[in-house]
């Protein structure tokens, strides 16, 4: 069974690298990395800081875009082309199919993130940056965010059966994930019980990306030590697992 899972993951991994959209995203990401040099020039003494921040931000954004478009078409494409029937005729649990496809996708995205990281570090090195270990800590948390977004995208693709709707829902959840503090403030200020309940429900259901936003907060004095961010990693893994479980439940109900 594990062999089947790994086979699905492997062919998904290869498929992602053959996907032209995926390659375009990678190319575009590398191109915009170059643009960070322009911003750096405008920032004078803060050049290195700007390139550092922009590079990490672009790495995250393009990782999310790559996993988003990969995930929404992961199952939908095979369903529309009917090639999924060939797999489902095998004695393969449907859950293994979803998990295998997801694993192949996230492994392919981590390769792209590492490549972008290499380009970014090279740019920083050229500009006189002295290596900061916080960089090595920021990348895993970017990857965890990408994994959560990927799991959400898989869920919405099976929930809505429409690629466009999946992208919209996933992006909406991802944006709300960074807005937790402001939403909590709104909930406290609101006088309506219904709106407080609604906002609190949204805060609970949506992924809280502040737990994974290490790249934006490492410089803050009193920021928790890296070891405590492991909790954030655990949160990301559990959230992704919950989304995948629901995706498996949805997929199991589909009739082919």
């Amino acid at each position: 069974m594990m062999k089947s899972l790994l086979s699905i993951a492997r062919y998904t991994f290869v498929q992602q690298f053959r996907n032209r959209l995926y390659l375009v995203v990678l190319f575009f990401g590398a191109l915009l990395m170059g643009v960070s040099l322009l911003f750096g020039a405008l920032a004078a003494e803060q050049e290195v800081r700007v390139i550092f921040d922009l590079g990490l931000l672009l790495t995250e954004l393009f990782g999310i875009v790559a996993v988003l478009f990969g995930a929404v078409t992961l199952v939908l494409e095979e369903m529309e082309s009917k090639t999924i029937y060939l797999l489902l005729t095998r004695p393969l649990p449907r859950g293994f199919y979803i998990v295998g496809r997801y694993l192949g996708l996230v492994v392919s995205v981590v390769i792209s993130l590492l490549l972008m990281g290499v380009i970014h570090v090279t740019l920083l090195g050229i500009k006189g940056w002295s290596f900061d270990p916080h960089y090595l800590a920021a990348l895993p948390f970017i990857y965890l965010k990408v994994c959560v977004v990927g799991a959400l995208a898989v869920f919405f693709s099976l929930f809505s059966s429409s690629a466009v709707a999946s992208v919209v829902f996933t992006l909406f959840f991802s944006l709300l994930g960074h807005f937790g503090s402001e939403l909590t403030f709104l909930a406290r200020k609101s006088e309506s019980v219904l709106s407080v309940l609604l906002v609190k429900t949204i805060i609970v259901i949506m992924p809280n990306f502040q737990f994974l936003n290490y790249r934006d907060v490492w410089h803050i004095p009193g920021s928790p030590p890296l070891s405590l961010w492991v909790w954030g990693g655990a949160y990301a893994v559990l959230y992704a697992a919950a989304c995948l479980s629901l995706s498996i439940a949805l997929f199991s109900r589909k009739e082919f």
């Binding site: 911003f39 405008l42 920032a43 004078a44 003494e45 004095p221 928790p224 909790w231 559990l238």
Partner: protein, 237 residues
């Protein structure tokens, strides 16, 4: 796996991540950014909100700082940078009237962006003769991050500047420039103060240091001009 079992598994994972979220909130304090209600310039509100929405407050603050530099570098150019004392007579508040607002916009997004406080306070106090604004900005910085003691160092220099105790100002600025985050604006001011006092050798050293370390073309050109002037007087770094 049956659907019921799958949904049950999902429910378990859901409860587990809720638990971990609660544990994170109670076990440790995730850095709380100020709520996005800081005075933001109307024209750039959308840009700032977008930065917050995608979890990029640091980068949004960087962009705001770039706009501050563009604002400060693009308008009035009738006076030389760092000519602090000569500016004391006749500078009007209409020069860069929104400099403080620009600085507040950047630190409203990232209150731990120390360089914005230091740069803007230096420009306000030493170039634009608006010491009160500079001191209020440094006070905000100190409130946001009481551990960054250099705010007090700069505030001290500005306070002495107000009472025209230039020797004290030089003493504090000499200490400030030892740190890598000291903006070249202040190095430039210190160089000019030394030049005014007749300490040409020390002034030349400072301008040489700016030439070697600064990335800002404006300060590089100013340092080059100053070194040429000093060289013509027989002083080199």
């Amino acid at each position: 796996m049956s659907i019921k079992r799958t949904v049950l598994t999902a429910g378990i994972f859901f409860m587990a991540f809720l638990f971990s979220a609660q544990a994170i909130s109670t076990v440790f304090f995730t850095p709380r950014w100020p709520l996005f209600g800081a005075p933001s310039m109307q024209d750039n509100a959308l840009l700032d909100v977008s930065g917050v929405f995608i979890g990029a407050r640091r980068f949004a603050a960087d962009l705001a700082f770039i706009q501050l530099l563009q604002y400060y570098g693009s308008e009035e150019t009738e006076h030389e940078e760092g000519e602090a004392d000569s500016l004391a007579a006749g500078v009007s508040l209409s020069f860069y009237p929104h400099l403080l607002t620009y600085a507040r916009r950047s630190v409203g997004l990232d209150p731990y962006f120390h360089d914005v406080y230091l740069f803007a306070a230096g420009a306000l106090a030493f170039n634009l003769n608006r010491a009160e604004e500079a001191l209020s900005l440094l006070a905000e910085g100190k409130k946001a991050d009481p551990t960054f003691w250099r705010y007090q160092l700069y505030a001290g220099a500005i306070a002495f500047r107000k009472s025209f105790q230039m020797d004290k100002v030089i003493e504090l600025l000499e200490e400030a420039i030892q740190y890598p985050d000291c903006p070249p604006l202040l190095e430039n001011i210190l160089g000019n103060l030394h030049k005014k006092k007749g300490n040409y050798a020390r002034a030349a050293q400072i301008f040489r240091h700016i030439l070697e370390t600064s990335r800002d073309q404006g300060y590089l050109d100013a340092a080059r001009r100053q070194l040429e002037t000093l060289r013509s007087m027989g002083y080199t770094a």
